[in-house]
C-alpha cells in the first residue's frame, strides 16, 4: 500500500493531500487544471519535494520531511507516463523501452529481449524499429507505457493518460487501458480532468479542488454520495445543499441559497443534500405541459458533448438554482437548443434523492 500525506506550497498555491492507495488498485485523481494534480504526481515521482509530510510504499520510505529522507526519482520503483508521453525522439521504440533496463545496468542483450517481450505484451511488437515521431498518439502512449512497465514498477503514475489523444482513438484506448490496468500487479495513480476517464479507469476516485482533497473513496460511494457541488457536477449530477424552508403536502421546499427546490419530505429538520441526476432534468421551450413542481426558467449557458465523443449532451443552464441537464443530441436538435436560448427545465420532486 502507498501511504501519501503531503503538503506542497508553490507561491500562493497550496497542495494538501493525504490518501492511501491500496495494492493493485487504480486511483483516479480528478480535478480541474490548476487543482494540483500534476504537482501531486511530481511529488510521488520524486521530481519535486513536499514541504511537509511523508510518502511510504509498503514500509519503504520514499520521502519523510521529519527524518530528512528524500529518495531521488531513480531510487523509487515508479513508472511515469507524462501527458504527451515524452518518448526519446532520437531512439527507436525498442531503444526507448530498453532505456530503463540499460540505465539500471542490465546487459544489452537482456534489455533488448525484455523490451521486445514488453512490446509484444502491449501489442506493438511491430513498432520496435520505428522512431517515435512516426507513431500515432495511441501508439505513442503504448510505447510510453511499455517503457514504464518494463521495469516492473511498484507504482505506475499516469498524467492525463487520454488527454493527448484525438476523440476517435480516445474511446478505444480507454477500454484497452482499463483492461491493462486491471492486470497489473502494481498500484496505479492517474490524474485526469475528465469525469468519464476517472469513472472508467479508477476503481477509487480522489477529487482535488484548488489543492485540497475534498473527497476520496470507492467509485460507487462517490456516485451515491458526492460531497461537493464540484464533485456532483463532475460526475454528472446536480447537488444542492440547504435547509427546509417550508413544507406542504408531502413535499419539503429546500432553500439552496439560490432559489428553492421541492424534495420529498422526510419530516426531519435541518440541512440536507439533494441530488438530481442530470438525466432526470427535462427541457421544454414553454412552461405548459409539466406537472413537476420543480420548473425553472433560464438561458442555456453551454452544450457539452458527453462523453466527449458521445451521442448525449450536457446542458448547463443559468436557472435559479443553476442546473445541468443531460439529453440526447436528437432531442436537443428537435428543441433547437443553443447557447442563449431560453428554456424551462423541470424535474419531479419524487426523483430527488436527499441525504444528510
Amino acid at each position: 500500500m502507498l501511504a501519501i500525506d503531503v503538503t506542497r506550497r508553490l507561491g500562493a498555491f497550496v497542495l494538501e493531500a493525504a490518501l492511501d492507495v491500496p495494492e493493485r488498485s487504480t486511483v483516479a485523481v480528478a480535478g480541474e487544471s490548476g487543482a494540483g494534480k500534476t504537482t501531486l504526481l511530481r511529488l510521488l515521482a520524486g521530481l519535486d519535494r513536499p514541504d511537509r509530510g511523508s510518502i511510504v510504499l509498503d514500509g519503504a520510505t520514499w520521502f519523510d520531511a521529519a527524518s530528512g529522507v528524500a529518495c531521488p526519482p531513480e531510487a523509487r520503483s515508479i513508472g511515469w507516463v507524462p501527458q504527451d508521453h515524452a518518448l526519446f525522439p532520437h531512439l527507436s521504440v525498442l531503444e526507448n523501452v530498453a532505456f530503463g533496463l540499460r540505465a539500471a545496468g542490465r546487459p544489452a542483450a537482456e534489455a533488448r529481449r525484455r523490451a521486445a517481450a514488453t512490446l509484444e505484451r502491449l501489442g506493438i511488437a511491430d513498432l520496435a524499429g520505428r522512431g517515435p515521431g512516426s507513431l500515432s498518439g495511441g501508439q505513442q502512449q503504448r510505447a510510453a507505457l511499455a517503457r514504464a512497465l518494463v521495469l516492473e514498477p511498484r507504482l505506475l503514475l499516469l498524467d492525463e493518460p487520454l488527454a493527448a489523444l484525438d476523440v476517435q482513438t480516445r474511446r478505444s484506448v480507454r477500454g484497452e487501458l482499463r483492461r491493462l490496468l486491471g492486470t497489473l500487479p502494481c498500484a496505479t495513480l492517474l490524474v485526469t480532468h475528465d469525469a468519464v476517464d476517472a469513472l472508467a479507469l479508477g476503481n477509487r476516485i480522489a477529487v482535488l479542488e484548488a489543492g485540497r482533497l475534498t473527497q476520496y473513496g470507492e467509485r460507487d460511494e462517490l456516485l451515491a454520495r458526492p460531497r461537493s457541488a464540484y464533485v456532483a457536477e463532475f460526475l454528472g449530477v446536480n447537488l444542492f445543499r440547504g435547509a427546509v424552508a417550508r413544507r406542504e403536502s408531502g413535499v419539503a421546499w429546500l432553500d439552496t441559497g439560490a432559489g428553492e427546490i421541492a424534495v420529498p419530505d422526510d419530516g426531519l429538520p435541518g440541512e440536507r443534500f439533494a441530488l438530481v441526476d442530470a438525466r432526470e432534468v427535462t427541457l421544454a421551450r414553454d412552461p405548459s405541459g409539466t406537472s413537476a413542481r420543480n420548473a425553472f426558467h433560464g438561458a442555456i449557458v453551454e452544450l457539452i458533448p458527453e462523453p466527449p465523443d458521445g451521442q448525449r449532451l450536457r446542458v448547463a443552464l443559468a436557472t435559479r438554482p443553476r442546473l445541468v441537464a443531460e439529453i440526447t443530441r436528437a432531442a436537443a436538435h428537435g428543441l433547437g437548443l443553443a447557447p442563449g436560448v431560453e428554456v424551462w427545465a423541470s424535474f419531479k420532486a419524487t426523483g430527488v434523492r436527499t441525504f444528510r
Binding site: 520524486g46 521530481l47 531513480e74 515524452a86 532520437h90 530503463g100 520505428r130 522512431g131 521495469l151
Partner: protein, 250 residues
C-alpha cells in the same frame, strides 16, 4: 551583401597561380606554419570541447549565484580586441604573471611556446563553442531528462544517452565555429606567444610576415589557410559520431 563577402575571396583566388602555390608547399617555413596551425587549432578545439561541454551543461541546467556574471565573463573574449586578450594572458601566465610563477615552478612555460599558442586560441575561441553548446543543451526538453530519472538513469547516464545526442547538432556547429576561430587567431597569439617560425608562427602570422617581404608567399599561405579552414569545417561536420544528424525517424 553576398557580393561584398565573396569579392575578396575571388580577388585572392585570381591573384594566385597554382604553379607558384605548389612551389611554396615545399618551403619549410610554409609547411611548418601549416602543420603548426592545424595541430594547435585542433588541440585548442579539443580542449574547448572537453572542458566547455560540462560547463555549457551546467550553465544550461543549473541555477547558481553570479550565473549572469559567469556567462558574461565567458562571452567577453568575443568582444575583447585580441591584442588586449594577449596582453591579459601575458599578465596572467607570463613569467612574472599571476599564475605564471606557479606554472614556472612546475617547469611549465606558456609565453612564446606552442602551448602558449594553444592557450591563446582556447581563450579566444572558447565562447564560440560554449554559447551554442549551452543553447543546444537548454533546448533539450527538461521532461525527457525527468523521464530518464524515473527510468533509473543517473544524471550522468541521462546526460550521455539523452542530452548529448539531442544537443549534438549544436555541439558540432559550435566546435566548427571554435576551430575556425582558433585557426584564424592572430592578435592574441602574436602578443602572447610571439612569432617564432616552427614554434609559434601559425599561418595567419606567416601571412602577415610574408606580406612584408614576399607577396607571392603571402598569397600562397593565404590560400592554404582558406583551404585549411574549409577542410576543417568539412572534416568536423563529417567526423563519425560527431557530424551525423540525429537518426532519421524511420
Amino acid at each position: 551583401m553576398l557580393a561584398f563577402l565573396l569579392l575578396p575571396l575571388l580577388a585572392l583566388l585570381l591573384r594566385a597561380s597554382p604553379r607558384r602555390l605548389l612551389e611554396r608547399l615545399d618551403d619549410p617555413v610554409v609547411l611548418d606554419a601549416l602543420r603548426l596551425s592545424l595541430f594547435t587549432s585542433l588541440a585548442a578545439t579539443g580542449i574547448v570541447v572537453l572542458l566547455g561541454t560540462p560547463l555549457a551543461w551546467l550553465l544550461a541546467t543549473r541555477r547558481f549565484p553570479a550565473k549572469r556574471a559567469v556567462e558574461t565573463l565567458i562571452d567577453l573574449p568575443m568582444v575583447l580586441p585580441p591584442t588586449v586578450a594577449g596582453l591579459a594572458l601575458l599578465f596572467a601566465f607570463g613569467r612574472m604573471g599571476l599564475a605564471g610563477r606557479t606554472l614556472d615552478a612546475f617547469g611549465l612555460s606558456l609565453p612564446f611556446t606552442t602551448l602558449g599558442v594553444i592557450a591563446a586560441q582556447v581563450f579566444m575561441a572558447a565562447p564560440f563553442f560554449v554559447a551554442p553548446a549551452r543553447a543546444g543543451f537548454a533546448a533539450v526538453d527538461p521532461r525527457l531528462l525527468e523521464v530518464a530519472a524515473t527510468l533509473r538513469a543517473s544524471e550522468g547516464y541521462a546526460f550521455r544517452r539523452v542530452a548529448l545526442p539531442l544537443a549534438r547538432p549544436a555541439l558540432v556547429a559550435g566546435a566548427a565555429m571554435c576551430a575556425a576561430r582558433a585557426l584564424g587567431e592572430f592578435g592574441a597569439t602574436i602578443t602572447f606567444a610571439g612569432n617564432l617560425p616552427g614554434v609559434t608562427q601559425t599561418m595567419p602570422l606567416g601571412v602577415y610576415v610574408a606580406l612584408q617581404s614576399d607577396l607571392d608567399a603571402a598569397i600562397a599561405l593565404a590560400l592554404l589557410l582558406l583551404l585549411a579552414s574549409f577542410g576543417l569545417l568539412l572534416a568536423l561536420r563529417a567526423a563519425p559520431g560527431l557530424g551525423h544528424l540525429p537518426r532519421a525517424r524511420d
